[in-house]
Amino acid sequence: MIEIRVRKILEARGGDFTLDVDLELQEGEFITLYGPSGSGKTSLLRSLAGLLTPDKGRISKGGKVWFDSKERVHMPPQKRNVGYVFQENALFPNMTVRGNLQFAQKKGAPPGLIEELIVDMDLHDLQDRYPDTLSGGQKQRASLARALAQQPDILLLDEPLAALDGVMRLKLQEYILSSHRKFKLTTLMVSHDLAEIIKLSDTTILLDKGRISKMGTPQQVFMGNKLSGKFQFTGTLLELEVQSVITVASVLIGNQIVKVAAHPTEVEGLSPGDKVVVASKAFNPVIYKIEEK
């Protein structure tokens, strides 16, 4: 179990607020943090990594104390065995991809680990290249491999996919999820993408102004009132078009736009940008194989 109890006064554009979190996480879980910018998500990750010192509190993992303000314990980041991937890649520019991985490796690491990560992350063709010759997606893939080369127990991902396009995001999500499972990591990821959160996480934490406003499975957190509709997705409302007696809503789900025809009363109070659930009975959709041409 990972115990995180931290208080920290944070400065934000809208005024100071207190990160005030009391959490117990199960090891091996995939946890996502969701919330408006400036709600303390990154500060929470940084406290866990040892890069930010809370004003008060206690952090422990499996009974081992990482931080305790009363006991004046503050374990340095390198001893916490935490891997960190940021939104902007932090690869060393003067080292190749392979060099970056080797540099991150700890003494006594299993001999085949780098090769294994190069295979897992499809870095074979990129291993001798320098970071500035890589695309955004390739850099993040290399950053993920470098974080894993440290053989962390906990993987912290701070919106690592935010700058990537839809297709690349989906691919990277697969790499993240398969590594999480393979290396039996406890993963904490900051994300603003509902589809991503629902796909990846066991537990979602909603942070608002430094406090946890909701926590549970993504379904519990986002679906609220559960319908018996099995054909259910979350998305972002893009547009409402009035077409005589019905209104057609365009909703972005993943990287696809779907349209929903609704009675005007059904879409009352909705405006573009709103997060919405699109649901239908499982009996309505048709399904067929896409024939290869």
């Binding site: 559960k226 319908l227 005589s244 025809a261 009675h263 009363t265 059904e266």
Partner: protein, 134 residues
């Protein structure tokens, strides 16, 4: 979305499917099928209060006295008002349990001669009805 509150009266399950009957006051019985059973969805229990939802576009209109139709849910109503578009029309129907909205083609509305006061039957297939626990 048409919404009513009622109580589950019976649940018949077979495999992973359940046929659920909901009684809505005053006098409406709605049947729906869901891919869930009392085991997978604990809210499926006799006596439980639920919300019953169905889209306006899934409500079929028949004139009174229409027989021999497979649709499980048939609710006697009276047309309260109708709003006519070029292709589609929106009907407000009154029944003892409240109001049901239906969107049908303007052509059908014309063929049936629907106008305020017409007695009709609102019909909904059982696979078009959603349940939501309260």
């Amino acid at each position: 979305m048409n919404k009513f509150r009622g109580h589950i009266s019976t649940i018949e399950s077979d495999g992973g499917l359940s046929l659920v009957t909901v009684i809505v006051p005053v006098d409406m019985e709605l049947r729906c099928i869901v891919i869930d059973t009392p085991d997978s969805a604990p809210y499926l229990a006799a006596g439980r209060e639920v919300e019953v939802l169905f889209k306006e576009t899934e409500v079929v209109i028949g004139l009174e006295g229409t027989d021999g139709i497979s649709l499980s849910n048939q609710i006697p109503c009276v047309v309260e008002s109708l709003e006519t578009g070029v292709l589609l029309s929106s009907l407000d129907l009154k029944c003892p349990s409240g109001r049901i909205r239906s969107i049908i083609s303007t052509r059908s509305a014309g063929e049936l001669g629907l106008k305020p006061g017409t007695a009709v039957r609102a019909m909904i297939k059982l696979n078009e009805i959603m349940l939501s626990p309260i």
